[in-house]
């Protein structure tokens, strides 16, 4: 049994057999098969194959239909939960960023406070300043107000009291009048935290021989 050289028609023979060709195409294929012995023989072979292999086993349609589940529309995907979760995540991330940013801005605010207080107090040893920063007495209301004006928006309660007063003392010292300045100096002098320093002994050179030593 030979193969027709018209592969296109050969490809369509099963479609012709199963009546799946449009009318125009069917007419063309039938016309070719009518004049082509090879295609005619192949079409007969296909019919024989189908007759030999087509066996429809009996199936119980009622049993199958009884087993078919009832239709259930697919549940609509709810994105509400995801949206809420996303919103919570965004808010949490924002809050975290805000806290981190505020924490980051506090450090530079504190550093200049100590630096500025070290310079302007005349006659005060620089080494005492950090010690005094922790135990400064409450400043006058006016001085505190000036600090608030100097740092608008800063959270007053977020900064320790002693540091606030230090900020006042360093940043607004020039705003104090003579009376307030005198009060502040008096307070400083009466601070317990300041070590009692003997000026004379402090001025003694460590290289001078000690009393009573030969």
């Amino acid at each position: 049994m030979n193969d027709c050289l018209n592969a296109d028609v050969r490809d369509l023979l099963p479609d012709l057999l199963n009546d799946r060709l449009p009318a125009a195409e069917r007419q063309l294929v039938e016309s070719h098969v009518a004049h082509c012995a090879d295609c005619g023989a192949e079409l007969m072979l296909l019919k024989d194959v189908r007759a030999a292999t087509t066996r429809t086993p009996r199936v119980d349609v009622a049993t199958i239909v009884a087993a078919v589940p009832a239709y259930r529309a697919p549940a609509r995907r709810s994105w509400v939960g995801w949206r809420v979760a996303a919103a919570i995540t965004v808010v949490a991330a924002g809050a975290s960023s805000l806290l981190v940013a505020r924490a980051g801005t506090r450090v530079p605010e504190r550093a200049p406070v100590i630096a500025t207080i070290a310079a302007p107090v005349p006659g005060t040893p620089a080494a005492r300043v950090p010690v005094a920063t922790r135990d400064l007495p409450p400043a006058t209301p006016r001085a505190t107000d000036s600090v608030r004006e100097a740092a608008p928006g800063a959270r007053q309660d977020a900064v320790p009291v002693s540091e606030r007063e230090l900020a006042m003392a360093g940043g607004a010292l020039n705003d104090l009048n003579d009376r307030e300045l005198a009060t502040l100096l008096k307070d400083i002098e009466t601070m317990d935290a300041l070590p009692s320093v003997d000026v004379e002994s402090a001025n003694v050179s460590p290289l001078s021989p000690k009393r009573g030593t030969p």
Partner: protein, 184 residues
């Protein structure tokens, strides 16, 4: 896929599916009646033995259970064949694990074709039967889907999980093998 591109049968299938979704149980019966025979014929032709009823039933249960995943890219019948084929492969793998003799390998030559023994009576038919039985499983599956069900190569490719070109090659190789067997 628009209605213009659909054949009359496919339009009917889509209409029946829509009616079944709307709650018309009769539509399910009509769909089963339309395709159960073809599905049974298909699974029998590719090697199902006494379990045809169960396979066909499982096919429809799976199909109706996931009807919303039927996109209509292929015909409903092709989709049913695809499901049936997978179920049959699963069944064969299960039987193989149990130690039963089954044909699992895609390209193994098949030397027996028991499901057709009762049908074959005449000598011509016996020879055809033998010729088909000599084909590899994939060749036989593709060839019979093309000849008996009239599926296109694209539909066969979807059903058999292969490409359109490969389906065409399998078909022509099968045809050549059958001719050579009959010419011997």
């Amino acid at each position: 896929m628009t209605d213009v591109a659909l054949g009359a049968d496919e339009r009917t299938d889509h209409d029946l599916i829509a009616r079944w979704k709307a709650g018309e149980e009769r539509a399910a019966t009509l769909l089963v009646e339309r395709h159960a025979g073809a599905v049974a014929r298909f699974v029998a032709s590719v090697g199902a033995r006494g379990d045809v009823q169960d396979l066909v039933q499982d096919t429809f249960v799976r199909a109706f259970g996931s009807i919303d995943s039927f996109r209509g890219d292929s015909s409903l019948r092709t989709w049913l064949f695809t499901i049936a084929r997978r179920l049959l492969l699963d069944l064969r793998r299960s039987e193989r694990r149990k130690g039963e003799h089954v044909d699992v390998q895609e390209n193994d030559a098949v030397t027996e074709y028991d499901s057709l023994d009762a049908v074959v009576a005449e000598e011509t038919r016996t020879r055809m039967h033998a010729a088909v039985a000599r084909l590899s499983r994939t060749q036989r599956e593709v060839f019979l889907l093309r000849v008996n069900e009239g599926l296109s190569y694209r539909e066969i490719a979807e059903t058999a999980g292969t490409t359109e070109g490969a389906a065409r090659v399998h078909y022509h190789n099968a045809m050549r093998a059958i001719k050579e067997f009959l010419d011997e």
